[in-house]
């Protein structure tokens, strides 16, 4: 790699530990805003809750003279649970928020925005084959509905709890999807000294259908958008190798919601090669990220996607390789310095 890219992961720890299920991203936004206060030229929050930070470029003020608006988007939200019913014992019934598998929840600790903790359990009901079929609920350790209502109400959301662990080569944490993207985007913005205006949008509600990115792109109307997110790592035992941890930053070619233009893809891979940054190509037939709605905004916006491969996505213990995080940081930093002619 071009430079020594050792990143300080302390802030990533804070980011992953903060609370931000889709539609409730305020705590994450506040953390990012405070961190960036001294190095941005503007900071605003839009109607949906997207946090938009920007740095003016050093180049000519005239857009016609070649100064571009570049937007980086990273979603702040994480998957979670929403309370829909509180029973007379004080147990909380819920629906999932985003792609979270109910079957994997029993036994997991969860955390509410207020700091309240609970554990997910399942009704003992079994079907004829003896498989559990009862509904899951959250036990917050209270005696009865009234006590529960002092702490929580319908509509409150919870996220999975998980400790942040840093090993020599990897990070284990909850919500790496996509606080790692927020972390990378923020480091790029911090160190950015390019010609063009750089907007970094920390978007809301990606996990439920990339909703925040739609209104943010409409408002900013950038010349170029780069989305930094996570993707599935297929390097665990008995899995076919596709995108995988420790193989570099993933450059998006296609998913269910976008086909990245060959020109953008070429520019991204050329940049990675020129700077000796390890990269891999991401093609997935399911799922999508903020790049979907963004590239279809207004008259269409040139859009590329980068991702950090993460194992065990949408669980309390997501695992990412530091080398990939550093590669993503290095590539994104280079890309915003030299955008292509569009």
């Amino acid at each position: 790699m071009a430079e020594n890219m050792t990143l300080d992961y302390k802030f990533l720890k804070e980011l992953t530990e903060s609370f931000g299920p889709s539609g409730n991203e305020k705590q994450v936004a506040a953390l990012i805003r405070a961190y960036a206060e001294n190095f941005v030229d503007s900071s605003e929050t839009d109607t949906l809750g997207n946090l938009i930070l920007s740095k003016n470029g050093a180049g000519n003020k005239d857009q016609a003279a070649g100064k571009k608006k570049i937007m980086i988007a990273a979603h702040m939200d994480e998957v979670g649970l929403i309370v829909t019913y509180i029973d007379r014992h004080g147990y909380l019934y819920f629906s999932p928020v985003g792609g979270i598998k109910e079957a994997e929840l029993p036994g997991r600790r969860v955390m509410f925005g207020s700091g309240l903790k609970g554990v997910v359990a399942r009704e003992r009901k079994k079907n004829e084959q003896g498989k559990p079929m009862g509904k899951c609920f959250i036990d917050i350790g209270v005696n009865g509905e009234e006590k529960a209502r002092e702490k929580v109400k319908e509509g409150d959301m919870a996220v999975l709890s998980g400790e942040f662990v840093e090993t020599e080569s990897h990070i284990i944490a909850k919500a790496l999807d996509n606080r790692v993207g927020c972390f990378i985007a923020l480091q790029v913005l911090k160190n950015y000294q390019g010609e063009h205006d750089l907007y970094v949008v920390f978007t809301v509600q990606e996990e439920v259908g990339a909703r925040g990115a739609k209104t943010a792109a409409f408002e900013i109307e950038p010349d170029l958008a780069l989305i930094i997110d996570t993707t599935i790592s297929y390097d665990t035992p008995k899995e076919e190798y596709r995108t995988a941890a420790n193989k570099g930053v993933a450059i998006k070619a296609m998913d269910r919601t976008i086909i990245v233009s060959p020109k953008i893809k070429q520019w991204m891979t050329d940049t990675a090669q020129r700077h000796g940054i390890p990269y891999q190509c991401e093609v997935i037939s399911a799922g999508g990220t903020d790049s979907g709605p963004v590239h279809l905004t207004k008259g269409g916006i040139a859009t590329g996607g980068l991702a950090v491969p993460v194992r065990y996505l949408h669980t309390a213990s997501e695992v990412a390789a530091k080398a990939d995080i550093e590669a993503a940081y290095a590539l994104l930093s280079e890309l915003v310095k030299n955008p292509p002619e569009i």
Partner: protein, 346 residues
């Protein structure tokens, strides 16, 4: 109250004209302006009580968008058989089981009955299975294909034949409460002026995928959107209360999250406080499935803070839906309250 007349009009998705004409007829004297867009949405506007338009830059009144869809679910004729029976497709979500032996109105108000094989003629195996749309047909009493073709043609809409009635203790029975109840509430609201400018959006084609509101979201701007809907009550057959979604008689239901929208927690908290202060019953919609026009409207332009208030409805998407008169009135009262207090909400 416009509810009876609205429910008895037929306006299946894509064919909302009778409903739109009725609304225009009754509102044109009461609103400041109205327009019908290219897909058929009706947009009415009414300035605030202090005369401030919502779109002037200086001293601007807040703009509140009220939205309800005009369309209802129904059927569409796809084939006329050699015997003169009509095969059909559903428009919007309809359970085939509710259709059997029901009366309908085809095309230009030609009465028909939905038929299927009688239980006497069904084989033992057939009796165990549920019938699909393909097993059903509409009988308009025509003796032949030629005779049927004199009265109906392929592509004609088929509506449920059902009259509005008061029912039991304080219930209403009719087809199409979803979402004529919402239309009726917005019509009543438009009779008065409020401290905010009002935009009323009566949308088309909600039942087939929120299509009308997609177009509205391309041009409308507002500081707050209130989507008024009917929602499926599940307070009868499920034994366990935690599986109920909403209950009749407990007030309008405020959505927390559905398949396309997460409603702002701060806004919901303020509205439920407001309802509590004024003693208006309000319940939360405990299911998170399904969606409504809020899915498009809350993402309009750079975003519109949105809430959905729904009237609980039993047997929704059928010819005999039931709602509570009190829920209707409480929903209307809550919308009025929100409009009068909108300065504190935005």
């Amino acid at each position: 109250m416009y509810l009876k007349e609205l429910c008895e009009l037929n306006g299946i998705s894509g064919n909302e004209k009778p409903v739109r004409d009725f609304i225009v007829e009754h509102l044109k004297q009461q609103v400041d302006e109205y327009k019908i867009d290219k897909i058929g949405n009706l947009i009415v506007r009414k300035q605030s009580s202090d005369g401030l338009a919502g779109d002037t830059e200086t001293k601007r009144a807040p703009v509140v968008l009220l939205a309800a869809h005009m369309d209802e679910v129904g059927l569409l004729i796809t084939e006329i058989t050699g015997e003169g029976f009509l095969k059909f497709a559903t428009v919007g979500g309809i359970d085939p089981q509710i259709l059997i032996s029901k009366t309908v109105l085809c095309g230009n108000n030609i009465p028909g009955v939905i038929g299927c094989k009688a239980i006497h003629l069904q084989k033992r195996e057939e009796r165990k299975q549920t019938l699909s749309i393909n097993d059903l047909y509409i009988d308009i009493g025509a003796g032949s294909k030629e005779e049927a073709e004199k009265n109906v043609k392929i592509g004609d809409y088929v509506a449920f034949a059902s009259e509005f009635a008061e029912f039991g203790s304080g219930l209403f029975k009719a087809k199409a409460f979803d979402d004529r109840a919402g239309c009726a509430i917005i019509m009543e609201i438009m009779a008065d002026r409020y401290p905010c400018s009002l935009v009323g959006a009566f949308t088309v084609q909600e039942e087939v995928g929120l299509r009308g509101s997609k177009v509205v979201s391309n041009y409308v701007q507002a500081d707050l959107a209130i989507i008024i809907e009917a929602t499926a009550a599940r307070d009868t057959t499920e034994k366990r209360e935690e599986e109920w979604v909403v209950e009749l008689g407990k007030g309008p239901a405020c959505s927390l999250m559905d398949a396309l929208t997460i409603y702002k927690p701060e806004l919901i908290a303020r509205i439920s406080d407001l309802a509590r202060e004024k003693g208006i019953p309000l319940q939360f919609r405990r299911g998170t499935a399904a969606a409504n026009d809020a899915g498009n409207l809350h993402l309009a332009g750079s975003g519109i803070p949105s809430i959905t208030l729904s009237i609980p409805c039993r047997n929704i998407h059928s010819m005999n839906s039931l709602i509570s008169k009190q829920d209707y009135e409480n929903c209307l009262a809550l919308v009025r309250l929100i409009l009068n207090k909108c300065h504190t909400l935005i």
